[in-house]
């Protein structure tokens, strides 16, 4: 049984088909990159994984659970922008991850100390201790995204969804963020879906790269046919498949 399973998912806005017949199953701990042209439905797909939208047909489930109807605690998300709360300090943003689950959004007194320790640990991990009392608007784009990822991980989601998380960063910062993300992923073994425009980024970070495109074009009305997953690449071992085939099937060894 796969961890995240997407079964025959369709999405239509009115008469416009966005996605059709999307089937994919993902194991726990896999890093899935999602690429495709603009408007091919990859962000729609991510919004459906997030349960911000429900598919018009088919269903998406995590760990065999019932399909979600609204975003919840089991899904973490980082958007390209606006992922952190501007009216809270960096520390406040991390504490919010702990406090928002309580009925009034405030931690009870006895839980506060433990939460503050965890927030401090996360601050150290994402390297933002020196700006802990500042507001997000005074941070650089890379720092804001590190904060957003740290905040999402504080809530220990089952899957992490990234919507072009590094799209607004400069190339140098982007490379740093790649290393940061890979380290975090090795530490947590989290299942990640990342939508990106950057093919190179997708292959570098992902275990699998899903390509969204329209399988065929209707000559009369381009809106009739939606996009689907047209390629599902194995991106491990620098994107060259079967490098570890001998480990799996030793009998294929020569001699």
């Amino acid at each position: 049984m796969s961890f995240v399973s997407v079964r025959n998912v369709w999405q239509k806005y009115g008469d416009r088909s966005i996605l059709e017949r999307v089937n994919v199953s993902v194991d726990e701990g896999e890093f899935i990159s999602i690429v495709g042209a603009s408007g091919c439905g990859k962000s729609t797909f991510l919004r459906m994984l997030l349960a911000e939208e429900t598919p018009s047909k088919g269903e998406i489930s995590i760990d065999g659970g019932i399909p979600a109807v609204e975003p919840g605690i089991e899904r973490g998300v980082v958007f390209q922008r606006y992922s952190v709360f501007p009216h809270m300090t960096v520390r406040g943003n991390l504490l919010a991850a702990e406090a928002f689950g309580t009925p009034l959004g405030r931690l009870p007194r006895n839980a506060r100390k433990a939460a503050q320790d965890r927030a401090q640990a996360t601050l150290d991990r994402i390297g933002l201790t020196h700006v802990a009392e500042q507001y997000p608007a005074s941070l650089s784009g890379g720092m804001q995204q590190r904060l957003a990822i740290g905040q999402a991980l504080m809530a220990t989601p089952r899957v992490l969804l990234l919507d072009e998380p590094f799209g607004a960063l400069d190339p140098g910062t982007r490379l740093q963020m790649h290393d940061f993300l890979m380290e975090l992923r090795d530490e947590t073994g989290m299942t990640v879906f990342m939508v990106t425009h950057d093919l190179h980024e997708g292959f570098k970070l992902g275990d699998r790269v899903l390509v969204f495109d329209k399988p065929r074009w209707d000559p009369v009305d381009p809106n009739v046919i939606g996009a689907t997953i047209t390629y599902d690449f194995d991106a491990r071992n620098q994107g060259v498949p079967f490098q570890d085939i001998l480990e799996k099937y030793p009998m294929l060894a020569a001699g």
Binding site: L50, F79, Y82, A99, G101, L104, Y135, A155
Partner: protein, 270 residues
């Protein structure tokens, strides 16, 4: 150099800022002087010195009959009505604005109603308010509330809707309920806007207050102005007008300072 690129230096800017005030004062003094030379008992444009003397009398000397200083009584009464009306409006607009901005059901229920309500000219309702609520304090406070709440509500609702969807979704993935999103995500972000709304609405609030006091009252700044109009007491009227302006200015400044102190994150990006 283009005119749009010319910037006055610091003393120049201060001088320019003072210029309109000085010109107004000079123009008034000259006009007043001309009229007083022609007719020393002219009441229309009292000399600045007369106004100053009247002001001193109004602020310090008690009324002969009631033994109370009327100007302070008027100020307290008017400010109480103003604060009451503006306070109720702020609270109402905050609650309804949050509801409209966050809850699709509340949006369907309220938004067109408030759009229509904001088109009703509040002063036209004044007679109805006097009939329904009597001539006491209630009708004056209600006039202010009716006058400024729709505008403030619409603006706050709009501001809540402008909070990026990403933030709302993010809060949900952190496990926040609707109440938590309202209290910890939306409310703190629209409070600065509420204060700036109050600042903008104070002008209208004063207008409604003075209008209501002029029509039916027995104490209040607006009441006094319209009372002494009968005696052509321009010195009293002008003193009151300057006093009201000063009060409005001080309230505005206080709110501005409060906003800057209370919401440091607003300026973090600057």
């Amino acid at each position: 150099m283009r005119l749009i690129n010319r910037i006055p230096n610091r003393p120049g800017a201060v001088l320019l800022a003072a210029l309109p005030f000085v010109l107004l004062l000079v123009a008034y003094s000259v006009a007043s002087d001309i009229r007083l030379t022609a007719n020393p008992s002219d009441k229309l444009l009292p000399a600045p010195s007369t106004i100053a003397a009247t002001a001193e009398r109004l602020f310090t000397e008690p009324d002969r009959r009631s033994k109370e200083i009327l100007l302070w009584n008027d100020t307290v009464a008017s400010l109480a009505r103003l604060m009451g009306g503006v306070g109720i409006s702020a609270l109402l607009s905050l609650v309804i604005g949050l509801a409209i901005g966050l809850l699709p059901y509340a949006r369907s229920l309220f938004s067109s109603f408030i759009a229509v309500l904001s088109m009703v000219p509040p002063l036209a309702l004044l007679p109805i308010l006097f009939i329904v609520f009597g001539l006491g304090e209630t009708s004056k406070v209600v006039l202010i509330v009716i006058g400024i709440t729709p505008f403030m509500t619409r603006d706050l609702a709009q501001r809540v809707l402008e909070i990026p969807k990403e933030q709302i979704v993010k809060a949900q993935t952190l496990g926040a309920s609707t109440a938590v999103i309202a209290l910890r995500v939306a409310l703190p972000q629209i409070l600065p806007r509420l204060i700036s709304n109050v600042r903008l609405s104070l002008g209208s609030a004063w207008l409604f207050l003075i209008a209501a006091e002029a029509v039916a009252s027995n104490v209040g700044l607006g009441y006094r102005i319209f009372l002494v109009r009968r005696y052509l007491a321009m010195d009293v009227i002008l003193t009151y007008v300057i006093w009201i302006t000063l009060l409005a200015f001080i309230i505005d400044w206080l709110l501005k300072t409060l906003s800057r102190r209370a919401f440091p994150w607003m300026e973090a990006g600057l």
